[in-house]
């Protein structure tokens, strides 16, 4: 049963990597998460199996679908990378080595502490980990707010001037007839764009 799950996981991982459309790749990733959760449950890690299922097959999949809807699903063709195959083969050989390691007589060190249940271990021994996770979560939320807020739009426009200027290289015919005192709004109000339009207007006046 475990071998079957492992083979299916590898197949879905390969499909997720090779999928042409991003939505299809996301669905294969959700399948991989569900198979991993089942495998972890069979190994005895019940709590992590449940968390992996809800986070991997639920949260991450929904978020990916959101973002793909926002940015658009561009079909990409995958090419066979020779060096990639070599890496895969090399790691497969390493995996086989790990498989036959017990017969090679490699001793594994054993820990001396007595095992306890998940709740005791998490809250009593790894409490600092939980605190670090909380800090990580808050840092992540602040990071998202900083990235997606309207203020960030203006700041990023000043940080990446080449991106905004490149799209204004050719004067938009809509703005060629700017009259004095006419108000402009949004990105067209940035000082770089106004400088370009003023320059272009002066040049056109000189010519005519």
């Amino acid at each position: 049963m475990a071998i079957l799950l492992l083979v299916l996981m590898l197949l879905s991982a390969v499909q997720a990597v090779h999928a042409t459309r991003l939505l299809v790749a996301t669905i294969w990733l959700a399948v991989l998460s569900a198979l991993l959760a089942t495998l972890l449950y069979l190994l005895g890690a019940w709590e992590i199996a449940v968390i992996e299922l809800s986070v991997g097959a639920g949260l991450v999949t929904v978020l990916m679908v959101f973002v793909i809807t926002m940015v658009g699903d561009v079909p990409t063709t995958s090419r066979l990378a020779q060096s990639g195959l070599l890496v895969g083969v090399m790691l497969a050989i390493l995996g086989l080595l790990v498989l036959i390691a017990p017969s090679l007589g490699i001793d594994r060190p054993t820990l001396a502490s007595a095992p306890a249940d998940f709740a005791t271990t998490l809250w009593a021994w790894r409490g600092l980990d939980v605190l670090a996770q909380i800090v990580l979560l808050f840092a992540g939320v602040l990071g998202i707010l900083g990235l997606l807020s309207p203020v960030a739009d203006a700041e990023l426009s000043s940080v990446l001037p080449t991106a905004t200027l490149a799209s204004f290289n050719e004067l938009d015919p809509q703005w060629q007839g700017i009259a004095e005192g006419q108000t402009v709004s949004g990105v067209y109000a940035s000082p770089d764009y106004l400088a370009i339009t003023e320059e272009a207007l002066l040049e056109s006046e000189h010519v005519s």
């Binding site: 991982a13 190994l43 998490l122 979560l137 990071g143």
Partner: protein, 101 residues
């Protein structure tokens, strides 16, 4: 050779698939998906190694931190992708690198 050793070896194969995907990925969101595959391989290795040692609950506590950190990294990567699409107009890695040159 029991199931746990096989799972530990299987995590290596999943890592190989992830690294292969890392070389194939041309779109930023595909890169995010491949990152998730790589972290799942690490998670499987962590849990199976912990159970091989008889320290299952310790492995699960560490795996919880890994899941939280990986989800956060994916979420922030997706937010970055949204902003990059708005700024650069494209998410193909080749085109984004060409724009800087």
């Amino acid at each position: 050779m029991n199931d746990l050793s096989m799972m530990f070896a299987g995590s290596w194969l999943l890592l190989g698939v992830g690294l292969y995907g890392l070389m194939l990925a041309k779109h930023l969101l595909k890169l995010m998906i491949v990152l998730q595959v790589l972290v799942k391989a690490a998670l499987l290795a962590l849990i199976s190694a912990a159970y091989l040692q008889g320290q299952g609950s310790l492995g699960q506590s560490l795996a919880l931190t890994v899941i939280v950190a990986d989800t956060l990294a994916a979420v922030i990567g997706l937010a970055l992708a949204v902003q990059l699409k708005a700024r650069m107009g494209t998410l193909m890695l080749d085109e984004m690198l060409q724009g800087e040159g």
